[in-house]
Symmetry: C2
Subunit: 539 residues, 2 copies
């Protein structure tokens, strides 16, 4: 390659430098000095880092320093789930000590865990490699400690039943403590992962971990295989919800949870101190998403917290839950919305079944349940009118005079009747009576005692409530007054309709309910990471 650097200036005039030139040189020298200092400091740092690496290599056990960021050797870390295929390789990985068992003072078996996977590791005295002290130290590690392990993967003659990776174990070369455990475990992860039936069968051998104890110690409860799977499924439902709606022309909106007035139904709204005045927490994005339709967004969805100040401690109510909400303009008929929502649910059910079988199976071990059933193809989803649903209950023996509304008990009964008669865990009820629905619900054009509204059910429990909404401000104002709401208290909302709004409808889904009912978890608190109810604000 040709030298492209300019040649040194050999022909410079022999005069002395000027004053300004001297100043310039001094500045340059200073800059150079600073750069040299910086380089020296960097070299020192690099040396320190190298030392830290050497230290780690030299010492084969013991705690790591707090920061763990002094050096960055960029050594690849292994996943326990992948070890089966790595016989003979030396691997490095971070894991929890799930359990340990010493055999004499020369050997200790560790069960090491990453999320839903585990493997057996062996620390064994060996001349010049593993000292007695190291084995003793490894045996002293508390369950749930986090360690960094280097070891050789080795096929085992017999499957190791206690680990999820059964065909290999790890012969430890180095083991370091990343994070220790500094309080007594309230329960073991194994006990928290056990199905109730096993505990009943084995009598006093295992401890039943009560829901309240779990929730008080939620961080360790969440480490069970079951919970790792439940919250992966919760995340999956959100993805499936968004994917379906995006591909159907919806955009995501974010509406404020802080409201100036206690809207929708004042009774169950939380009041907030807002500077020198007050605000209220939104019960749902209902008003905002309707306003987005009046603002021409056509099809919108929102995933966000909704707040309900109802003092009820049932298996299916939370004071804060995740609402999956959507709203869309209607072209001809509100059944366009019902059909879209039905397509959405079927896409969620199918997506879970096809892509998350492993997680569903893991949850089923602790919470046994019949597989969730829905109808597809020509037959399609079962749709009943509210009247037909009442008839089914009356046929089944419920006195008609008890059926102004369908209460929780009768909802479940209806679920059982439908399951027996139609073999489905999922169905729709259409055409609710007007007195059961909020003021903004569009009346049925054929029968003013009914509405263009619907609920969706899973295993006999409501998971979605929705309707066509009134888009005419005069009719809306009438209905508000009839239900005791002052239109003047909701000017922003009313204005949206005064400025022209297309016919529209939508619905709100409770994320935790869908998750609870799909998996049959029996209590909604199990479907919420850190649940909130009238008695629980912690952790």
């Amino acid at each position: 390659m040709a030298d492209t650097n300019p040649p040194p200036n050999e022909h410079a005039p022999p005069e002395g430098p000027s004053k300004s030139e001297l100043k310039k040189r001094a500045k340059a020298a200073e800059k150079e000095k600073k750069a040299a200092e910086k380089a020296a400091k960097q070299a020192e740092l690099a040396e320190k880092q190298a030392e830290a690496e050497v230290d780690f290599a030299k010492e084969s056990y013991g705690p790591l320093p707090l920061h763990q960021s002094q050096s960055r050797p960029r050594k690849p870390r292994a996943q326990i789930a992948s070890l089966s295929s790595r016989d003979g390789e030396t691997v490095l990985f971070r894991a929890r000590v799930h359990a340990s068992r010493a055999q004499g003072n020369k050997m200790v078996f560790l069960n090491l865990r990453q999320r839903t996977d585990s493997v057996q590791a062996l620390v064994m005295v060996s001349p010049e490699k593993i000292s007695k002290q190291m084995v003793k130290w490894a045996a002293s590690l508390a369950d749930e400690s986090i360690v960094l392990v280097e070891g050789v993967v080795k096929k085992t003659p017999e499957p190791i039943k206690s680990a999820s990776v059964e065909d290999v174990e790890v012969l430890v070369i180095q083991i370091h403590l990343i994070s220790g455990v500094e309080r007594r475990l309230p329960f073991t992860v194994d006990d928290a992962n056990r199905p109730d039936a096993d505990i009943d069968a084995e009598g006093a051998q295992f401890n039943r971990v009560l829901l309240d104890t779990r929730l008080n110690n939620r961080v360790i409860d969440l480490r069970t295989q079951t919970n790792q799977a439940i919250f992966r499924l919760q995340s999956a439902i959100g993805d499936l919800f968004r994917d379906y709606l995006s591909s159907n022309g919806f955009i995501e909106i974010h509406s404020p949870k802080l409201q100036g007035a206690a809207t929708e139904s004042g009774a169950s709204v939380f009041k907030v101190n807002y500077f020198k005045g007050h605000a209220f927490l939104a019960q749902s994005p209902q008003l905002a998403k309707q306003m987005a339709i009046a603002a021409d967004f056509e099809r919108v969805y929102e995933i966000g917290p909704v707040f309900r100040a109802e003092d009820s401690n049932t298996h299916r109510h939370l004071t804060e839950f995740m609402g999956l909400d959507l709203e869309m303009a209607i072209e001809e008929h509100y059944h366009e919305v019902v059909e879209l929502l039905d397509g959405l649910f079927i896409s969620i059910f199918r997506g879970l079944k096809e892509k998350y079988k492993k997680e569903i199976d893991v949850v089923n071990k602790q919470f046994p349940a019949d597989e969730f059933k829905w109808r597809e193809g020509d037959e399609g989803t079962l749709k009943l009118t509210f009247r037909q649903a009442l008839d089914l209950l009356v046929e089944d023996g419920v006195p008609r005079e008890e059926l102004d509304d369908i209460n929780t008990e009768n909802e479940k009964r209806l679920g059982r009747i439908v399951k027996a008669k139609y073999d489905t865990d999922y169905f729709i009820i259409d055409k609710f009576p007007i007195e059961l629905r909020p003021f903004y619900t569009m009346p049925d054009p054929e029968d003013p005692t009914l509405t263009n509204s619907y609920d969706f059910f899973m295993r006999g429990e409501e998971i979605l409530s929705g309707a066509q909404r009134i888009h005419d401000q005069k009719v809306l104002a009438e209905k508000m007054i009839a239900k005791g709401v002052d239109p003047e208290s909701m000017t922003g909302y009313m204005d949206a309709f005064r400025l022209g709004c297309p016919p529209h409808g939508g619905g709100g889904i409770g994320l935790e309910r869908v998750l609870m009912l799909f998996l049959k978890l029996n209590n909604i608190r199990r479907a919420s990471l850190f649940p909130r109810d009238p008695k629980r604000l912690e952790p």
Copy 2:
């Protein structure tokens, strides 16, 4: 085809029916009668529906009934954007009357709008088809009314400058009012869509619509092309954020916004009446996402509202905004987190530029801005230490004694210096001094006055703040006490670390800030659907 029906039973025994048989028959007859009645009713309904369809076909103009759900002819509806390619076809579509202009009493021009698209439509007297009354009625339609139009698409000899679809117009056959306008428009959508520069150039001809007026009438303000594009871009940023993190092993979590104690920093937290006690609105999902890491979820993100009770009315603060938060376990060094976050931002910038050029161009018309610039390839994103950032400011003339922190003004100045020197609108500052960061921030292992923490900047404004967190409960408790926080007030959080927690780090992004700065909207309220600040809780 062979007849597979069974032959009629001609050989039945001639005996009379039993009593129970009679009862059965009576029941069956009743059932039959009911079914017949039902069928008759359905037939009647179908007839009514058919009539409604006929009505619509018969009457070529006038308002549609409220429900618009009596019939469902399933006629396809057109999108204005597609009309260019449909010359000669008869189309049906719903649109807003953007503007109208009568020519004599025989013709009216309508400018019809769907979101960011518009087309010209012509209602013209024609024997036996379009009456004078119909033209008069069409001319009386208020701007922003919603109509259902049937018409024939026809190529125009000259481009129609006032519409986005310039090469065709629609000759109206039928036109019906879906939703009228019942108050005076506070401003026109055209005025709201105009760049300030145009208004200044044209003097008094156009009305400048002030931000407060817009926000007070947000539903109509949101109908501008600019706002339709802004909120499509907001939705896109969320999608790009999730896609990148999903493909990097993250799951989505939802943490409660209602907290039992005023955590993080008590001063700026909203207090909520919670049954007989109190709760507080979460300032961020910081504590919950760290607890999710202690619960072994490894990599988590959350998109949710965050609440700040700071009484400041700046261009970049809201009391409620959308936090894009993430947290991840660290293997070797916290720069793993910095690199992931950097990859995330570049993926967002690239995604917007590649897939949403149309929307960005629409916004630029009203808010002219230099294209957002970032560095890629070998060069990579500019990373400065906090000290280097200060040096740049000092070199630029800021007295060093003013630089304990970088205030908003100096942040912007730094943005300008960096842009001039490095030609980028996006950069990272690493290693903030310990006194500027919250108690949970991990100190720098080399220099205890610094931390393993970083901010990300766009056009000289902070859009992300993050750090490695302290995962050791003893060190954490010390730092809390040093910052005046009582560890006992945060038992659930402290417990997470007592039970073993891996090293971890993360960050929180303000969605509205990213949107505002990418598009240079100059005020964060323009990037929020229904913004909230100390003085605004409506609409």
